[in-house]
Amino acid sequence: MTTASATTRPDTPVPGSPPTGPARLGWALADGWTVTRRDLTHWLRQPWQVVFGLLFPILMVLVFGYLFGGAITVPGGGDYREYLMPGMFAMTMVFGLSETVMAVVHDTSRGVTDRFRSMPMAPSAVVVGRCAADMLKSTVTLALLVGCGLLVGWQWHGGPGPTLAAFGLLLLLRFALVWVGVYLGLVMKGEGTIAVLQTLEFPLGFLSNAFVATATMPVWLGVVADWNPLSATVGATRDLFGHSGLAADGWIAQNAVTMAVVWPLLVVAVFAPLSVRRFRALSG
């Protein structure tokens, strides 16, 4: 395409045609970063919203740790707040799901997604930018929640390796949920459906070992809760943080670390291609 200049006019600040070869990767990353930076600017312009978002999980820690906690017996007889924190970390990753969905639905319903798609930017940039912004936000949220956990008496007992691995697993869960969120956001038509999703987050989160041991549930419900991907992440992080004395019943609970890797990867393997396909054929 050497004739590009034939159709442009002199007052136009024209960049060249789309790059090819290795330059294309840099181009895609730059576009992704521009989209990510848009979200970062949102936080700077609406700091109260970020603060409010952070207050919620902290409030949950206080409610469960101090209001309900006294009535809950921890298997092995440990401190409930120590038991609770890994569950809260993972729940916070789950709460991020509706934030992703909301951002995607909002952009699509307002035509911003179409504008991006009609521009000569890297096709991956919108999804990559969304993913990077959500991961950054979740990392900050997780760090603050860790600080909150330390204040209420939770701490890790393992070495730096297992501890970092635990945080890595939590973020891996969030990463998987970003892709679920992008897909749901592209599929959902109205913003009203988000309320449904937010309502579902709670029972799906509670139907796990995040707040109570699954052994205390009716047998069939305990099995369902054990197989909840959230339980794998929570169980694995409890192991890695070195919270001792937790009974691990059944195959799935004994292989929590493996499953905490397998589940999210499986989810990504399903939802990432679905999302990309859906994004390309958005109006098809």
Partner: protein, 324 residues
């Protein structure tokens, strides 16, 4: 490779959803520096055409070129040469006007400094310089739409698509957007505009394609299309509603053409070839019968009438044919 001198050229475009064709056999040419209006009711296929031409949707049939680049095979080249203003003001509401333009500038791969300079130029040009740092959520509808236009003009693309650009705007904001569009066209931008507002097509378009149920049903300049509906129209407003049926029969007989009555009013309208003679004839005959007439006028047909004439009145009850 550019193969035509047209900014937009489409032949036989078709898009099917299941068994229904949203668009079929769609042809259009837009010359550089001209405005083509796509006029049609909701669901006629206007937006489908725009989505195909802006690479958002793949056609099932036909092909189209933008500034000589194929929309299906050379999407990226096409995207460097178009601007799209959709039905929503597709800008970020939390960011300021300037931040929006800088972000879009970066996504058009301008450097940080050029993006900033371009944002300032465009804010100035579209009358938004004073509010450049205000979040867009505080903008009026007209301001948003102008920012939307500005964002589409970052590279001064040769072709601009406007998909119902003034829907939901008050008349004043509509005028602002029209003025901005005219300015761009004067600078040589080709515009393809979809609209349900006949006035908008009349105001802005050099040529109009009337589209209904996915097909182009008429094509031509606004004046030419008005011609197609026939000559001038005689319009009468009667004093008394009970006299309407009788007057309709009388006017129909005297003019030899179809008489329409605007639903719920006492306003009759009929096509006339012999202008003043017909007017005199009708008014005299009505007076002889003692039917009192409040108002009478002769006028050129409006594009609304062209539109109803061409698409039929199946979904529009504002005017109904009463007699022949």
């Amino acid at each position: 490779m550019p193969t035509t001198q047209h900014a937009v050229s489409a032949r036989g475009l078709g898009k099917r959803y299941g068994k229904t064709w949203a668009l079929r056999g769609f042809d259009v040419d837009v010359a550089h520096g001209s405005v083509r209006g796509l006029l049609g009711p909701n669901g006629a296929g206007k937006s489908t055409a725009v989505r195909i031409l802006t690479t958002l949707l793949r056609p099932d049939e036909g092909r189209a070129e933008i500034a000589g680049f194929d929309v299906a095979a050379q999407g990226e080249q096409v995207r460097y040469r178009i601007g799209l203003v959709g039905q929503n003001a597709a800008v970020d509401e939390i960011l300021s006007g300037r931040q929006n333009l800088e972000m879009f500038g970066r996504l058009y791969h301008l450097g940080a400094r050029s993006a900033r300079r371009r944002a300032d130029e465009l804010l100035e040009r579209f009358g938004l310089a004073d509010t450049g740092t205000t979040p867009v959520s505080g903008y009026s509808g007209g301001m948003r739409r102008r920012l939307d236009l500005a964002a589409s003009m970052i590279l001064t693309p040769p072709v601009l698509f406007l998909d119902e650009p003034t829907v939901g705007l008050d008349p004043r904001a509509r005028g602002e957007v029209w003025a901005a569009v005219r300015g761009l066209v004067d600078d040589g931008t080709a515009v393809l505009l979809t609209t349900q507002y006949l006035e908008e097509a009349d105001q802005l378009a050099d040529r109009v394609s009337v589209i209904d149920s996915g097909r182009v049903v008429a094509e031509g300049g606004p004046a030419e299309l008005k011609e197609r509906v026939g000559g001038d129209r005689l319009e009468l407003v009667l004093h008394d509603e009970s006299a309407v049926p009788e007057a309709v029969a009388l006017v129909g007989r005297l003019t030899g053409s179809e008489v329409t009555v605007q639903a719920g009013t006492r306003r009759l309208s009929a096509e006339v070839d012999d202008r003043v003679a017909a007017l005199t004839r009708v008014v005299t005959a009505l007076e002889e019968r003692g039917t009192s007439v409040e108002d009478v006028s002769l006028r050129r047909p409006t594009l609304d009438e062209v539109f109803l004439h061409l698409t039929g009145d199946r979904d529009d009850a504002s005017e109904e044919a009463v007699s022949r």
